[in-house]
């Protein structure tokens, strides 16, 4: 049982790291491979604030969100916005460039070694609920991710803003011509996406570690979650993250010698079965 709980916690963490990408890639159709760089930024914000400025851990989480959202908004206004209309390949090239710069910049400023997050005492240790041993921090992560998932679903996907966003992606020119402030819609979405990455990075630094190559190391995981989840909903990536998290943890527990096979094989199989991800609206023609 504990192992399933671990799987859920891991899946939730994957989700929170990837859900920002689900927004920018899924809803905005922008292939931002540099997503992990924003997550890394969030992680470093947390580390710097807790260790150098002594800000309490809890306060750092919203700060990590805000700071990265701000960075995201800034980059969106100055750089990213020029790339919306461009081909996916341009976007790949560009965001890889951003990754390279982010990695070396962080290396320059913070050094290349692992940063280590120190949790407050009340988040450490374990509790036993109904006979299942659970890490307190993992419980905490699950709670935050659940809140984020609900907030996203309610606040972004089902609303008029959500429709406007999808309209702007489908056809930005016509959306403009019909009065949608495409730039604003994109900027807000991008900022929220980056902010979520930052929050995920901050939350995840504890479990995943944090060093300058973070954006590359975990890029594949983000992409897997979004691809398997499908790009048109938020529930898709959530479910995908949970499935992958649980399958990975269970697989490693019961057949550890299979190692990394499980997650990749599972991904390929799911994508063969549902090429557009678990949840995708039929795209005719």
């Amino acid at each position: 049982m504990t192992i399933i709980f671990d799987g859920i916690a891991y899946g939730m963490l994957l989700f929170i790291l990837a859900c920002g990408l689900a927004l920018t890639l899924g809803l905005m159709n922008f292939i931002n491979l540099a997503h992990g760089a924003f997550a890394m930024a969030g992680g470093y914000v947390l580390v710097v604030l807790t260790q150098r400025a002594g800000v309490p851990f809890l306060a750092c989480l919203p700060l990590a969100f805000l700071v990265t959202a701000l960075i995201g908004a800034l980059l969106e206004r100055t750089l990213y916005q020029h790339l919306y209309g461009r081909s996916h390949l341009d976007q790949v090239l560009f965001s890889v460039g951003i990754i390279f710069m982010a990695i070396t910049a962080v290396q320059y400023v913070m050094g290349s070694s692992q940063q280590i997050v120190r949790l407050p005492d009340w988040l450490q240790g374990r509790v036993e609920i109904a006979g299942i041993g659970m890490g307190v921090y993992r419980l905490f992560t699950i709670a935050i991710c659940a809140v984020v998932a609900i907030a996203l679903q309610v606040g972004l996907v089902r609303t008029r803003f959500g429709s406007q966003l999808r309209a702007a992606v489908d056809d930005p020119t016509v959306a403009r011509g019909l009065g949608i402030n495409v730039s604003l819609v994109f900027a807000v979405t991008f900022a929220v996406g980056s902010g979520l990455a930052g929050l995920g990075g901050a939350l995840g630094a504890e479990l995943l570690g944090l060093d300058p190559v973070f954006p590359l190391r975990y890029m594949i995981y983000f992409l897997v979650v979004v691809a398997v989840g499908g790009t048109t909903t938020i529930t898709g990536p959530l479910l995908a993250a949970l499935i992958l998290g649980i399958a990975d943890v269970l697989g490693k527990y019961y057949v550890p010698q299979l190692g990394a096979f499980i997650i990749y094989t599972l991904m390929v199989l799911i994508l063969l079965w549902r090429p557009n991800g678990l949840f995708s609206r039929a795209v005719a023609r």
């Binding site: 050094g111 290349s112 280590i116 120190r118």
Partner: protein, 371 residues
Amino acid sequence: PAAMAQDTVKIGMIQPMTGPFASTGIEAVAGAKQYMADHGDTVAGKKIELVVKDDAGSANDTRRIAQELVVNDHANVLMGFGLTPLAFAAAPIATQAKVPMVVTAAATSSVVEKSPFIVRTSFATPTAAATMGKWAADNGIKTAVTLVSDYAPGKDAQDWFAKAFTDGGGKVAEQLTVPLQNPDFAPFLQRVADAKPDALFVFVPSGVGAPFMKQFRERGLADQGIKLIGTGDVVDDQILNNMGDAALGLISAHHYTAAHPSEMNKAFVAAFKTANGGMRPNFMAVGAYDGMALVYQALEKTGGDTDGTKLVDAMKGMKWESPRGPIMIDPDTREIVQNIYINKVERQDDGELYNVEQDTVENVKDPAKAK
């Protein structure tokens, strides 16, 4: 400048300076530079020039760079090699070009066998792993589980620990390998918890050590009475202090600790920290430091002759005092012979975490080569 070239000795240092293994390269380059800062850049009338190249951890690049260093830059010595495959890739170049190749990092046992021109100043994984295995068996640990990263050094460590441990009367309950890029140790640690051994022997690359140890604590394995033991890679000095209390009490076997209580080491650590913005030297730094020391001394012995064969011959059997303690190059295997220390993570007076020596096993040879 032909005459100039005669008077300089070029050392081509190939290290991963970018990519996932960058921290290895950065420490090593700093270590090498530290030696030059301490001992000047002329030996036996020759000027030493250190050329640093980044191979980003890619064997293809390592090989090409090594080749270019030899062919174009006329490097007299190759040095570095952050990972085993990188050393393997470059080994034939050393053989063909007859250039000494000083390995300051890669730790798989067989590296030195790949070319008669390879000399190693880092360590061979089996030395640390086997020492740990023997120590564990001698210190009341009956059963152990091993958990290693899924790559060659990991398997080396696992096998040699297990061998020494079982030879000493211990029992390995389970052997776990985790993927190199593994974000979550939960399932593996849960297996450990279920197996209830006396100790868990761990070998993971230094960057992964911290998350691993936290998860070990979080899962309460320590409270279950499971001792965490390993080689020094896990408690790499570079990041040890940041690990926080999670690391306290870990027992590791290694050939270097920044807390080594010799005067020489104290001076080395202080100088290194000053030169590198407070970064602590780790075993990678000391490996490269000694690599330079080896080259300097060999040159002195040959009187500045840079002929590769002569240099390697000079290196064989060389003995000197390093910040890590007394070391020697085995004349038969060109492998380093050194003390292995049993360390325990403790908080020292300056408030920082260190690997503090508990026990010393002197002049350990690589057991893998003791045929």
